[in-house]
Amino acid sequence: MRTPFAALVALQARATFGLKPLADYHSYKDWLKLAGMVLLFLVVGADLAAIFVMSALAQYDALQPQGLQGLLLLNSAIMASMAVFSLGFIMILSGWSQSAADRQLFAMPIGNRQLLAARFVVVYLSEFAFSVFLVGVQLVVLGVKEAPPPAFWILGLLTSLALPLLPLAIAWIIIVPIMSAARFMRSRNAIMLAGGFVGVAFALAFNLYVQSSMTKLGDPAWMLAHYAGPGTVMNLVGTAWPPSLFAYKALSLAMAGDWLQGLPWVAASFALGLAATALVLAFFARAWARSVLAFGEGSLRRLGRGQAHAFVSRNFLAGGAFRALVLRESRMMNREPMYFLNGPFIVLLMPLILVLAWFVQRGNLASIAVALEAVRGGPLGFLAGAAFGAFLGSATSIAATALSRDAKALPALLALPVSVRDFMLAKLAHALGWGLIGAIVGAGGLALVLHLGFLEAAASVLLAFAFSSLANMAGLWIDTANPRLSWDNPVAAMKQNPNSVIVLLGAMAAIGGLGYLATILSLGIAGFTLAYGGGAALAFAGLFATYPRFAQRRFLRLEP
């Protein structure tokens, strides 16, 4: 028999990560899906790891001639702490908007501290994975280059285990008082705004950190001046964020073969993190419980009698059924934080990150300007804009999760007098709307940067829109064929929906492939617009024409 706390952690983990026990995998299809998901996870993980490994290798090559390669360890601890704090902050915050189902737990004979501890463990498990990943990449680079003793790896794992504790405890210490005191924060919309703000801030800060450190690594004189002596940047960082210094000391001692000397630093890291965690559980559990129970408290806006009459006269206006379906789809998706932040928001977030990268790299603008001159006048700039716009327009996951998101509402929706065709095409219209915004922001934005002419820019946007429309149409097909209809948490319908990952990666692969093909073909702007844009439009038309019949047949087999 499990203890109540273990049962609680298992329940929370299952609900949060959409896990199910292996005993529930019955058919070969279940196992095939699991294998596919594991494979996808490995591919995406390896892809990200490759990016970080390349960055770490570049840093190693820049630091090693000065004998400062150990700074990679400091860097990894700082990056892991930043990532854990920011991502953990968002996850902790979103816990309030998912708390409706958790409220019944408060009626059970479980203390507030145990409930909070279970939540803490679930967030920790998620963030520990990030910590291991980010620290691990740097350890592997150093491990391969420096061949440290085995104890280095053990201390590395222990450091990764300890690192998330303090940032997460700090995040709780910041969030609980805010959620307790600020009534305006007790709504999903407020959570969406705050989570989005932290997400953007994190993405920007992370980019700023990576971009600026990469720029400085290219300057050996700066490196020696700031890192070689006492009172250096490293000591300042260590004072400001002790866990990073503890990690650096522990791992650099282990790398030098003196792991016994490194062990107390790991212990210090654990002690600090566990003390902060204990502080949270001891002093914040009650306030946390109260704020969770108060979340979503009714804040009805009541109209006066005369106002109500006027409101009805003013606000009810007949319109078409299709328009109503599009409006419903748009409102239901874009007002749900989990859906919006993991979907259409990418159209705004990605350009913002690029603008920041551009801003930080302005010192290198001279070389960038030379590169820009080279692409101006040829089709390369036009194609680069189209590729970026196509990516943004394809990455919103609107169409690829269209049916899955409505799983709970299907019994009510299918009783309405609307055709399957209209119901699903309204969702496509929503996806195409954001696809167009993505194409304009991506291709149009790059056209501005590259000073493309109007016709060139318009063709670039058109090409991006044609491609993203095809990707969205394909996404609609995939989610109609294999929707995720059984879930307890909207995360499962959106973020953990393999259909959106398939479309995202498929679009990236297709854009990459077409980009490569463009280097072989010499078609010119009109030629590429006709060949690529026309091809995408034709494929879209084929899928669009056959979709209604397919959807009709598929819906007949649904059992909502």
Partner: protein, 257 residues
Amino acid sequence: MLRLQGLSKTYSRSESKAVDSVDLEVRDGEIFGFLGPNGAGKTTTMKMVTGVLAPDSGSVSIDGIDLAADPIAAKLRFGYVPDNPELWNKLKASEYLDFMGDIYRVSTADRRARVGELSERFAISDVLSSSIGSFSRGMKQKLFVIGSLIHDPGNWILDEPMVGLDPQAAFDLKELMRARASAGKCVFFSTHVLEVAQRICDRIAVIARGRLLFTGTIDELRTLRQKTDARAGDEDLEGLFLDLVDDSDSAGKGERQ
């Protein structure tokens, strides 16, 4: 008028029939209660009547229009109150009602008049500008009742409509059901609350293990039960219902043996 003929359904992941050869007619001008224990096939039947689930065999017609042959025309002829009001929390109440008005092709003047009248009746006219997510369950239920009547349908289908309603709203809903039946319209609802069924239904049907056990008035049920058990004469609907379902369970076990 609703007519169900030979309606059967077996779910793809199940071997037994959830609904087995159900024949039913719900006439205009009557309130018809659909009763059954949990897992009896009530919800599956309601889903097939509303076009949410396709039957394996049999047909559903609404005012003589075959639901499978012309689903849009058939669906326009009924209003439906689903059993789960937690689905539209991201919309404002006015947005939901306007959506229903558009879907059921209701003119601006008619929808304003009906929303005004019904929201006053159910005492939610002052919160129409608020988000549905901020409503209590009872308020949501009232809103969906209004949405289902925005096109003044000839047939009204309600799935467990009394859940979450306060006594006043439950009374108002029963009054409204009676008023619509008196106006020659058909009211078909499922419920677990036998007291409500006893008080307002003109006829009832009892389903268990996917099969219809009885269709008729409560008096007819009492007469039927008296033939097998003399003590049944004094029983209320609850007693009659439990006896009927109990007999069906015993018969089912007998069949399995």
